[in-house]
């Protein structure tokens, strides 16, 4: 039993962290091999295990970096690789191509009905909240009968972009008889989506750790009624509870990383996403509250962390959604 990382994983995490200190430049991250680290050797990478994903995304979360690694590599290249599209997968992993994955549709909430249809190799439908769609060279689109590949700028494809709470952007995607190539059945998604959920949870863990550190520092230095806020027992006990919950989140992320390729993956995905989503919300709310007014302001560094934590819960199914999935997976 071993809960640690390999030497290579630790080195990658360290150099990633150092690079991120100089700013979030996606091409620098790809050059560093962050994309390849997220792909298995069969898929042309040098990592791709749960531990690799955990290491990379916790580091990104700590740094508050907004990158295409989750959508374009873990999800996009992951699906392409599973579909045997190794060239495009490697292009995505190296940053040459950018992939966005279009699953959800308007009017549905999480894992709702898919109405986008394919007829004679052309797709028609609407997709909602598609992360990274504006920058994508390729879109993977879920239709009623499986997954399709669409090239950016294809005829009949239109995007309406907007900013997201986590600092990234997404788009509403409309497809009208858009030429597309079939990749395969929807079960190509299984492992890449689980990996993407792990990535999102590891990212949230990094953010939580950072938010708690920030709060700890604040409580030690900020004084009220003549003494540091952190010396008030009621505040201490709340921080203790918060730290205990973050420890739970940490173990939940480890659990999913350790079971990403095990038979009970679905149960672990549901358990981890449900727990991390709940605790991410708690950390956002409690760290704001423990800061007081300053925690409400955009200019203080907590604000983007809090929004990123809320976004982590809201994506790929929230804590309640995954609680229900866990019940279903446990009964199965």
């Amino acid at each position: 039993m071993n809960f640690g990382f390999t030497e290579e994983q630790t080195m990658l995490g360290d150099s990633l962290a150092r690079t991120l200190e100089r700013g979030t430049d996606a091409s620098a991250l790809f050059e560093l091999g962050a994309g390849a680290a997220l792909m298995t050797e069969e898929a042309g990478g040098f990592g791709g295990t749960g531990a690799d994903i955990l290491m990379v995304f916790r580091t990104l979360g700590r740094a508050g970096a907004v990158t295409p690694l989750l959508d374009s590599v873990v999800l996009g290249a992951g699906i392409l690789s599973a579909a045997g599209e190794s060239d495009l997968a490697e292009a995505a992993a190296s940053g040459e191509a950018r992939v966005a994955v279009a699953l959800d549709e308007p009017g549905q909430r999480y894992e709702g009905t898919v109405a986008t249809t394919a007829a004679a190799g052309k797709l028609t439908g609407e997709k909602s909240v598609i992360h990274g769609a504006e920058d994508a060279t390729h879109l993977i689109v879920r239709a009623t009968d499986g997954l399709y590949l669409v090239e950016a700028g294809a005829e009949g494809l239109s995007l309406r972009g907007y900013a997201l709470m986590d600092g990234g952007r997404a788009a509403e995607v409309t497809l009208k008889d858009v030429p597309a190539r079939r990749l395969g059945d929807a079960d190509l998604l299984d492992r890449p989506l689980a990996a993407a959920i792990l990535a999102l949870c590891a990212d949230a863990l990094g953010v939580m750790e950072k938010a708690v550190d920030l709060t700890t520092d604040y409580l030690k230095t900020r004084k009220q009624f003549g003494r540091p806020i952190g010396s008030f027992q009621a505040i201490q006990h709340r921080m203790a509870d918060l730290l205990t919950e973050v420890e739970q989140a940490r173990s939940a992320v480890w659990n999913l990383a350790g079971h990403l390729d095990s038979a009970d993956r679905d149960r672990h995905v549901a358990a981890t996403k449900s727990l991390v989503g709940r605790i991410a919300r708690l950390v956002a709310e409690e760290t704001i509250q423990l800061h007081g007014g300053i925690g409400m302001t955009e200019e203080y560094e907590l604000a983007p962390m809090a929004r990123r934590l809320l976004a982590a819960d809201a994506r790929f199914g929230d804590s309640d959604h995954h609680l229900e999935r866990f019940i279903a997976a446990s009964a199965a």
């Binding site: 909240v129 509250q289 409400m296 955009e298 929004r307 976004a311 309640d320």
Partner: protein
Amino acid sequence: MDMSFSPEDQAFRAEVRQFLKDRLPQRLSEKVRLFQELTKAEIEEWHAVLNEKGWLAGNWPRDFGGAGWTAIQRHIFEEESALAHAPRILPFGIAMLGPVLQKFGSKEQQDRFLPRILDGQDWWCQGYSEPGSGSDLASVKTTAVRDGDHYVVNGQKTWTTLGQHANWIFCLVRTDPTAKAQEGISFLLVDLTAPGITVRPIVLLDGNPEVNEVFFDDVRVPAENLVGEENKGWTYAKYLLTHERTNIAGVGFATAGLAALKRIARGQMSGGKPLSQNPLFAAQVARVEIDLMAMATTNLRLLAQAAAGQAPGAESSMLKLKGTQIRQAINDLTRRAVGPWALAFPSEALEGANDDLPPGPPEAAGATRAYLNNRKLSIYGGSNEIQRGIIAKSLLGL
């Protein structure tokens, strides 16, 4: 025991409801319903409608141009207004400064300032908090030094809500630096257009510059703008804080928010069914509704006690605590109800541009921002930690 409203109060409710139906512009109520920010002009528009009816200052005596309502009537008005998605009446002039001037101000001050609050000539803001003061309001550092028939004010206020729209600010200033914390403070009215004042908006984490920093650099304030006696300002400030606490429970806002939440949940799908029928979601909504039913009764019980002349004690801290918990729970459920669309975050306030048309149901983007904005509920007006301390100390005597 009779929990129903008196026939008079029921008639009053009907009158309020009819008035809102007739006179509240849908343009405004739609923005409120969708959690959108109102412009200065829109807020002033609604104030003017209410003032024309004589209903702007429900808490003021008729002698001062108010409606002279009972606590129950005020409650009814607030509840109906919230349910109709009426804009909120700005508290700074009406709920905060007005009562202070009426009780402690000079006749001249009353004659000069009160009418201008009602007719909208003055927009007041509050200068209490300072950087670093947090819940310790008595740690006032902004100084006012007497110089002839003026005070010279230096220092900084912060968290000044909507100060960017205001032309006047009421301030706590330190007039005796040698006195103990709660002594040596005075209550001063300051013209925000005076030289030496700088107002800097603070953008909040919802992207909205709702509050401001106000800097005072050798600002000369006529001595006639001192309210009451010098060095007695803490007394007036406490009186104001007590008055601020009417409607502290926010029952009307919570009721309206709950209705909106239920409507949104009926329109969202979850596993092929409306989210409102999802047992886990319905249970969370029901639990907050049950909590709200109980808190609304606590609120009415205290109003009835107040009407019978009993001053509320730590119960109003309980209302603040539970009221903010309930409203924040509703905000949280509303944001979660719109699921992935809560991710959209219109960035115009952050970036000065409005090129984004958010996806999902019309309430979605506003739901996120309302959630983020209302994290303030448990921080301001005496943080919930302060309220817990008050409850423990006054009821337990610990």
